[in-house]
Symmetry: C2
Subunit: 194 residues, 2 copies
């Protein structure tokens, strides 16, 4: 089965494809079909933004759609960057600059608790949808020298997972897809479809 | 496993218990534990209201919670009664009066299409939840003489399911739980837990 994924991000497409492959689900994104897709993410939660993206693409294609919204929530920053994760500090920043910004805001606060959160929607038909929201709990590293790993993207290098004694960016793809927020949300959706 | 159900309605509790029993899930409601539970359902969708109830009860008990919100959406009435189904026409009306009100608003409009919708939330832990929203499509009967059946509750007697050649209130409990909006949403949640 092939399902639309409401995203323009090829890295995320690859990750979700890997997560859903055990369930025989293939993923295609709007740009591959020449469809322009830039909905305004005006929600106030991951859930609302994922629903906005899912409904917008469903209205365009009229076929089952998966959409997600995710971000990093830092306890001592009252949940920031949260839904603003992708453009925190301004559109022009690089991932490294964004990671440095979070570390600088957190300073030497001993409360390093944080989590990635992913809300994933399968919009299946009118009035019919499934949603899974899953967290991945960890701790923010103490400085940019401790921000390690070349895997993953975004804030992956600054979230340290004690159980694995590594940052998310140091996990193998297989490890990350099994325990991550997006991985676990995708597995719930896959189980419902499979 | 025993899970809280954010409801004060014993009829709904019985229905959800039957739906979830194949997954070895038992249901308890706040009143059985002496907990007062009357959250304001101020959302603008079934999904929002189900989330409000789930979060409110989770905040009280700190254990996994199921909540749902459901209603009847009539195509020719622009989706009414919708989220206002439970008190449509005013708090004081009986189910029969409410059914008569919907039939009178619809008049002899040939477009009888309608559906029950149920949004069900399993709020499992902070930042972790699953949601299934499912519809049950049918047609509104033509008048109160055609409103048949003693099973079910609410608008069940006026939604006719062509495939079964009966109204929802004429279905057996087993049939209803297999095909209904609440039944199918509950089955999705049960499969994720099971």
């Amino acid at each position: 089965m092939t399902i639309w994924f409401a995203s323009g991000n090829h890295h995320k497409k690859k990750e979700l494809s890997d997560i859903l492959s055990p369930y025989s689900i293939n993923i295609k994104i709007p740009s591959e079909a020449g469809i322009e897709f830039n909905p305004e993410e005006s929600g106030t939660s991951f859930l609302e933004n994922a629903m906005i993206k899912a409904k917008a693409l469903y209205d365009l294609v009229g076929e089952p759609v998966i959409a997600d919204d995710s971000g990093l929530c830092v306890d001592a920053l009252e949940g920031r960057p949260g839904i603003h994760s992708a453009y925190y500090g301004g559109e022009g920043l690089s991932s490294i600059e964004r990671n440095a910004l979070v570390l600088s805001e957190l300073g030497d606060n001993p409360n390093r608790g944080a989590c990635f959160v992913c809300a994933m929607v399968l919009y299946y038909a009118p009035n019919r949808f499934f949603i899974a929201q899953e967290p991945l709990f960890g701790n923010i590293v103490k400085d940019m020298e401790s921000a390690r790993g070349s895997g993953g993207f975004g804030y992956d290098p600054i979230l340290y997972i004690s159980e694995y004694k590594r940052t998310v960016a140091e996990l193998t793809e297989e490890e990350k897809n099994r325990i991550s927020h997006r991985g676990r949300a995708g597995i719930a959706i896959g189980r419902l479809l499979g």
